[in-house]
C-alpha cells in the first residue's frame, strides 16, 4: 500500500464525520492550550517579575582586584568598560585598609563649638562615581576631569560624613583636614542606591588619593542595562585588565535566568498538572470515539479486507486517523495558547516571551496523545475477521 494512499484513506475517514472529529479534538485542544498557556504565561510573568523587582540587583556588577598586587587596573581602563554595549555607567574606586581609618577634621571656622575630629574612610574615585552608585548631589558638585588635570585639592563628602563633620552648606568653601593637609569640600553626595557605606566616606580625586596610598584601583562598579549583566560580567575583566582577566574577581547578580526559572517553577507545577490532566482526558476522548468509530465501521473494515487490505493496513489507517486527530488538536491548541499569551501580555503591557520550540513540540505532543489513544482501537479493528465484519 502506498503511503499517500494510506494518508488519503485516513484523511477521508477523519473528514467523513467532521463534527465528530471536531468534538474529538476538543479534549486535545484544551490540554495543549493549557500547557502552552502555562509555559508561556509563566515565562512571560517570570521575566516581568525579574524586570520589575530585581532591576537594581540584576544590573549591578562589581569587579574587585585581589590585594596580592598581581593584577592592576589603570584608572583610565574605565573608559574601555564604558564602551561595552550594555554598560550604562562605570566608576573606579580605590580603598585600602589604611585609608579606611584616617583622621578627618573640619575647619574650626565652620563651627567652633563642635568636636569635629572623626575617623573616616577616604576613598579615591573616578569622576563618574555619582552615576555609578546611582546617587545624587545633596549640595555642590562632584569633581570632574578638570579637577584631576589641575590636581586640585578638593574632596566630596558623603551625606553622613558631612553631618558628622558639621558641614551643612558649601558657601564659603569649607575645608576638611585629612591628616595635616587641608582640602576644599566642593560637594555632598547622598541618596546612593549601591555602595551606601560611601555615605560615611570622604571621596577624593585619584590624583589626591596618591597622598594616602590610594594609587591603584581596588574596585570597579559597573551598571548595565537589564539583561546585559551576564554578558558584561564575562567581558568586563578583559576590558579592564587585558592579560590578567582571570585574576579579577567579578561579583555579578544572581543570573536573571535563574531567578526567572525559580518563578516559573512555582507557577508551572500546578498548571502543568492541570494541562496534563486535560491531555489525559483528551486522550481518553480520542480512544473512546475511535473505538466507537471502529465498531460503526465494521462493514467498511470487512469491505477493505475483501479488497485485499491486510490487518496491518487496517491498523495503520485507524492509528493514523487518531494520530491526525491528535495532531490537529495540538496545532489548534498551540495556536490558541499563543494567542492567549499575546492577549494577556497585551492587556498587562508585558513583553510576551514565546519559546519557539513550543510551536513544534505542542502539536507533536497532540499527535503522540492521538497515537497512544488509537493503539487499542486500531488493534481491535485489525483483529476483526473479514467474515464476521461482512456478516
Amino acid at each position: 500500500m502506498h503511503l499517500r494512499d494510506l494518508l488519503n484513506e485516513a484523511m477521508a475517514g477523519m473528514l467523513a464525520r467532521p463534527v465528530r472529529t471536531a468534538l474529538t479534538t476538543l479534549g486535545t485542544v484544551l490540554g495543549i492550550t493549557t500547557l502552552v498557556v502555562t509555559l508561556g504565561i509563566a515565562a512571560t510573568a517570570g521575566n516581568q517579575i525579574v524586570g520589575r523587582f530585581d532591576e537594581l540587583t540584576a544590573t549591578t556588577i562589581t569587579v574587585e582586584v585581589p590585594d596580592d598586587g598581581k593584577a592592576v587596573i589603570e584608572w583610565d581602563a574605565i573608559d574601555q568598560v564604558t564602551r561595552l554595549r550594555g554598560v550604562t555607567t562605570a566608576a573606579a574606586v580605590a580603598e585600602t585598609k589604611q585609608s579606611a581609618n584616617l583622621s578627618v577634621r573640619s575647619s574650626k571656622l565652620v563651627d567652633p563649638t563642635r568636636v569635629t575630629d572623626q575617623t573616616l574612610t577616604v576613598v579615591a574615585a573616578s569622576p563618574s562615581l555619582p552615576q555609578a552608585v546611582k546617587g545624587s548631589m545633596v549640595e555642590g558638585r562632584f569633581f570632574d576631569q578638570g579637577h584631576l588635570t589641575r590636581k586640585d585639592k578638593v574632596v566630596v563628602v558623603g551625606e553622613q560624613a558631612a553631618k558628622m563633620l558639621g558641614i551643612t552648606r558649601l558657601e564659603g568653601a569649607p575645608a576638611v583636614f585629612i591628616g595635616k593637609h587641608a582640602y576644599t569640600v566642593i560637594g555632598i553626595l547622598g541618596a546612593m542606591k549601591r555602595e551606601r557605606n560611601l555615605s560615611t566616606a570622604v571621596m577624593v580625586p585619584p590624583t589626591i588619593g596618591r597622598q594616602f596610598g590610594l594609587k591603584d584601583v581596588t574596585r570597579v562598579l559597573i551598571n548595565t542595562s537589564l539583561g546585559a549583566a551576564d554578558l558584561i560580567a564575562r567581558q568586563a575583566p578583559l576590558a579592564l585588565s587585558p592579560g590578567n582577566e582571570s585574576l579579577l574577581q567579578v561579583i555579578s547578580p544572581q543570573s536573571p535566568t535563574r531567578a526567572r526559572d525559580g518563578v516559573q517553577n512555582d507557577v508551572n507545577s500546578l498548571f502543568l498538572i492541570l494541562g496534563l490532566v486535560s491531555l489525559v482526558v483528551g486522550a481518553v476522548g480520542i480512544a473512546n470515539v475511535t473505538l466507537v468509530t471502529v465498531m460503526e465501521r465494521v462493514t467498511e473494515i470487512g469491505l477493505r479486507r475483501s479488497l485485499g487490505a491486510a490487518r496491518r493496513h487496517i491498523a495503520a489507517q485507524f492509528l493514523l486517523e487518531s494520530t491526525l486527530t491528535g495532531l490537529t488538536g495540538g496545532v489548534i491548541g498551540a495556536s490558541f495558547g499563543v494567542v492567549a499569551i499575546v492577549a494577556v501580555s497585551a492587556a498587562k503591557q508585558w513583553t510576551p516571551v514565546l519559546d519557539l520550540r513550543l510551536a513544534v513540540v505542542a502539536p507533536l505532543a497532540g499527535a503522540v496523545v492521538g497515537l497512544l489513544a488509537g493503539l487499542y482501537p486500531s488493534l481491535r479493528a485489525a483483529r476483526m475477521e473479514p467474515v464476521d465484519a461482512l456478516r
Binding site: 467523513a16 462493514t299 467498511e300 469491505l303 479486507r305 475483501s306 479488497l307 487490505a309 493496513h313
Partner: protein, 228 residues
C-alpha cells in the same frame, strides 16, 4: 483444456460450536473460465460458508481449494489476502459503498491495497476506474455520492469496483437482494455481458429469477452440494 478457475476437492467446514456444526460436507466443485454458476439453496444451507471459502475469507477444515491453480489452504493469512485482492472481485447484497466518497473514489479503492501499489500503479488509477464505470454504464455518475444513486446504480458501481484490475472471478452474494425487478434485470443483463466478455461469475442466490439466468446451477442443502 484451460485450467479451472475454481477447483474444490472434498472440502468440509466445521464450526467448533457445542455441538459442532458441519456447514460444508465433502464439497467438490470445478468452475472453468467464463463459467456463469449459480449456487442456490435455502437459508442455513451453507451457501454463505461456501462463498466465504471461495472468496478466501475463510479456511476450509479439510480438503483442497485451488484458485487459478494455486493451492490456497496452505497459504498464510497475508498471502491469502494478497490473492483475494488481486484475483477476486466481490459483489455484496448491500453494495458496501463508502457513503462519503464519490462513485469514482469507491471504484478506485479496489486498487489501494493491491500488492505493490507503487507510484506507477497509482498513475492512471482514475482512468482505469472511469473505464470500469463505463463498462457498467455509469459514466454519467462518476462524481456522485452513492446516496444520490438508485439501488441498481449503486450495485453497478459496486460491480465496477469488483471489475477493477481484471479479477479471475466475480463472486456475488445475493447481488439483487435489495433491488426491484427493473434494476434486477439491468444487473443480470450486465452479468450476461461480462460473461460474454470472458469473466467467470459465481452467484449465490435464493432467487429463481437470478439462478435462471446462469448457465449452470448447483444446489446446496445441509452443506451437501448437488449439481442440477
Amino acid at each position: 483444456m484451460p485450467e479451472p478457475v475454481i477447483s474444490l476437492d472434498s472440502v468440509s467446514k466445521e464450526f467448533p460450536t457445542d455441538p459442532p456444526v458441519r456447514a460444508l460436507s465433502d464439497v467438490s466443485l470445478m468452475v472453468d473460465p467464463a463459467d456463469y454458476l449459480a449456487i442456490i439453496g435455502p437459508s442455513g444451507s451453507g451457501k454463505s460458508t461456501l462463498l466465504n471459502v471461495l472468496g478466501l475469507l475463510d479456511k476450509p477444515s479439510s480438503g483442497s481449494y485451488l484458485l487459478d491453480g494455486i493451492e490456497t489452504t496452505e497459504l498464510r493469512d497475508g498471502e491469502r489476502t494478497k490473492l483475494r485482492g488481486s484475483r477476486i472481485g466481490f459483489v455484496f447484497q448491500s453494495f458496501h459503498l463508502l457513503s462519503h466518497r464519490s462513485v469514482a473514489e469507491n471504484v478506485m479503492l479496489a486498487e489501494v491495497y493491491r500488492s505493490g501499489a507503487a507510484k506507477r500503479e497509482r498513475k492512471g488509477r482514475r482512468d482505469r476506474a472511469l473505464r470500469a464505470l463505463d463498462r457498467v454504464g455509469l459514466s454519467h455518475r462518476v462524481d456522485f455520492l452513492p446516496d444520490r444513486l438508485s439501488g441498481g446504480e449503486r450495485q453497478r458501481a459496486a460491480i465496477a469496483r469488483a471489475l477493477m484490475g481484471g479479477p479471475s472471478l466475480l463472486l456475488c452474494d445475493e447481488p439483487t437482494g435489495n433491488l426491484d425487478s427493473r434494476n434486477t434485470d439491468a444487473v443480470l443483463d450486465l452479468f450476461d455481458d461480462l460473461r460474454d466478455q470472458g469473466l467467470t461469475i459465481v452467484v449465490i442466490t435464493h432467487e429463481t429469477e437470478v439462478s435462471g439466468r446462469a448457465k449452470r446451477r448447483v444446489r446446496i442443502t445441509d452443506g451437501i452440494l448437488v449439481e442440477e
